[in-house]
Symmetry: C5
Subunit: 79 residues, 5 copies
């Protein structure tokens, strides 16, 4: 997974029907911005773990998303 | 997902049979161009969310595509 | 998908048995070379659409390939 | 797979329920940091092999993770 | 697929149980090193085709690997 920081959110009215009710956060991770579905209640400023790919979709009830916030990081040890 | 901007489209007559009827948009996203199947009716100039990988294929009835427009972005909050 | 240009081909006698009969094209796409299975009859000089990942394998009857030519591009509109 | 070096760990209390009990290591690999689930008992300083994507999730009982430590490298021969 | 050159191998005693018996080669491909399971009998100096992702795992009897050597390249035509 990538570690990133939530820096904002996006919203969309015209979208795939199965995306209704999903919250989309903008996560900054090592120089790139990723939009991820959130199901753990993260907010701007939180450090989060992102899972990407089919894994994220499965976690979000098979919605057509390829990135999901799966954890809010409390601490990091090491370099 | 990636956020990108629709900058054009491509067409092809010789293609995988299961791609008949798909619309292909060219999306510019952080310095790279991605061709994505569109099923939400996006057009040139729209800001869109792209899902990539197997997720995109499943969303497009298992067609051999690895990127799909899943939403047209109305707004973005934050940095 | 990526847009690329076919610049050559590769051949191999020692390979996974399920790769017998596959044609492998070398496709140049935004600075990198990708070897892709071809099932639409593309040739050197053609501009093509590449699907990558599990999607490509499924399109090639579950052969162990992670890139496939799925269309020959006739035209591109926009920037 | 990627070869990397374990440089630390992360912890999280608010997370996907199916991540309970997973250990997350921070692995440095060719200039990027990846957070990977560990099931082989690796520790800081170990050189490890990482599997990524759906493969990692399946190895971790379908948990929403996209990277897993699958081996601790004892030796490497060649350049 | 990527074309790469086998430059070495790695070995590991502590690893996922389902990795027993797999041979791991280090393949250099366009500036990055990838560790790939080998089932075609490649050796140091060989030019090979790599399949990555879930495709590689399926080819290796669902072992937790995300890269596999699927062919030894005999020749390459074109640029």
């Amino acid at each position: 997974m990538k570690i990133g920081k939530v820096v904002g959110s996006v919203w969309a009215t015209r979208k795939a029907q199965c995306l209704q009710g999903q919250t989309f956060l903008v996560v900054q991770s090592e120089g790139e911005q990723i939009v991820a579905a959130d199901q753990v209640g993260a907010g701007v400023g939180d450090r989060v773990l992102l899972a990407t790919g089919t894994v994220a979709s499965r976690y979000c009830m098979d919605a057509p998303v390829d990135a999901a916030v799966v954890a809010i990081v409390d601490g990091k040890e090491g370099q």
